[in-house]
Symmetry: C2
Subunit: 296 residues, 2 copies
């Protein structure tokens, strides 16, 4: 019998925290301050949505959970580095993240810059030094997948589109393009890397990828709704920031009600892509619900 979803989430969040603690350089290893700042920026924070998606996709594909943990850590380190750099004064200039001072506030800007750089290197180190597949050629493809999802045609590119959009009126397709890159690419990578640790047909991977594309967008739409409604304490980061910065959001473009409707439609489309997997996709269904229903 399957455990209930909240237990599954907390078990895997806790397991993942242990994985990260083990894989990140210890704070007493030189250069200590950099390593301490890396741990500060990654540990004890966030809902771990990407790792949970990787674990769920790994379960579906019959992957050994230790391997999925490594792949999930690589994705999460990329996500964490992007937050550290995003929060810097030359980007979003944010002082609060996950209820704690941001890295450049707690340490300093130069350290935050290096923390981000070193976290990215570590992500690729993890994907290349641990055996994640019996087939080394397939594992090289996993490295490529994460590199593309992180780079100028993926997450970093989405951030560049975001920068260029400040103060501009975007159309809905333009906003979608931005988020497909900025947050969607890494969410899809998390799902595919988790699945690659096991064994699936290409057509099944394609289904999972479409699921990922839908929940990636839904995630962002819900983020915009929460940002427009929640207060700073609940959110653990500065609320209302995007609208204040004159950045286009789904809410400013569609209004709250239509944005909520869009999230629900994306959730349904995500579910449609899981039909053939039956019960094996139960966690992915629950995660889609979780992403759309969350309150923070």
């Amino acid at each position: 019998m399957m455990s209930d979803f909240p237990s599954w989430v907390s078990t895997h969040q806790s397991r993942f925290e242990d994985v990260l603690k083990r894989l990140l350089p210890q704070a007493d290893v030189t250069p200590q301050r950099l390593h301490a700042a890396m741990r500060y920026s990654v540990l004890d924070g966030g809902k771990r949505v990407r790792p949970l998606l990787a674990y769920a996709a790994g379960e579906l594909s019959g992957a050994p959970i230790e391997r999925v943990g490594i792949a999930a850590a690589a994705v999460e380190l990329i996500h964490a580095y992007s937050l550290v750099h995003d929060d810097m004064p030359c980007m979003d200039d944010d002082v609060l993240r996950r209820g704690k001072p941001t890295c450049h506030v707690e340490y300093d800007e130069a350290t935050a810059l290096l923390v981000g750089d070193a976290l990215q290197s570590l992500a690729f180190q993890l994907l290349s030094e641990h055996p994640l597949s019996g087939d080394a050629a397939k594992q090289l493809q996993m490295v490529k997948l994460l590199a593309v999802a992180s780079g100028s045609r993926g997450m970093a590119g989405g951030q560049a589109i975001d920068l260029a959009s400040v103060g501009k009126q975007l159309t809905l397709p333009e906003l979608e393009q931005m988020h497909i890159h900025k947050t969607g690419a890494l969410i899809r990578a998390a799902i595919l890397l988790g699945a690659h640790c096991g064994d699936l047909e290409q057509s099944q991977l394609d289904k999972l990828d479409r699921y990922g594309k839908c929940i990636g967008l839904a995630f962002q739409v819900v983020d915009d709704v929460l940002d427009s409604e929640a207060d700073t304490a609940t959110l653990g980061k500065t609320a209302g920031k995007d609208a204040d910065n004159d950045k286009p959001t789904y809410v400013t473009l569609l209004g709250v009600q239509s944005a909520k409707k869009m999230a629900a439609e994306l959730q349904q489309e995500a579910m449609d892509n899981l039909v053939e997997f039956g019960d094996r996709a139960q966690r992915l269904r629950e995660l889609a619900d979780f992403i759309v229903m969350r309150k923070y």
Copy 2:
């Protein structure tokens, strides 16, 4: 008969420029500004010391030159990203690099941050998407090698040690530790990645690695000497900057004469590690001379 060294250098510099132009995203691909800034920061600049070392090690190991070009590009992209981030106001705050405005001056700080991030991703994409070895497991090791050389125990770690050293009196071993990480790690990676595209025994790779360690340090010692003697126009970057910033250098620690003697000794030790390769190591010998004798 071998071509003379200056012809070999210019042939390979020019070949490498073509490789980079082809591998970097074109400036008309979205996001255009980011891609233009990436090309601005990488193309048409520098002596390409690391790529030349990779080509020379590749020749020694009988590697196909196209493969070496990819590996060299990956290393050079890491080097280029580190310069872009290093020049930013929160680090060295430099406005001139290779005779041109630095990336954050020509574009803006946020773009420079993303340029560095995306160049790092691209480096790992290159190493994982092109066939560099008939053995995928060996190629995964190449990815790991570059990741370690770039990260908190390599180049980024060296920069963190550098940050922590401003205004402090370092001992010679401490200064050496900093440079072994900050510049040495990537120089050694360039040589080993070039060699890995061909075929060498482990004992031979170890010799090349020791050669790389020596010329990596020699490179830095000569840099400090040039920085203390040259003017800004010759150097193509702001001269005397390190001493002005109260950063320890080999010259401030040893004086110019002893620093020059140290460079010559490191050069000799580098050469000693090439003996068994005979004529096949001719280019690596010439590069060691070039690194120590250069005037800019």
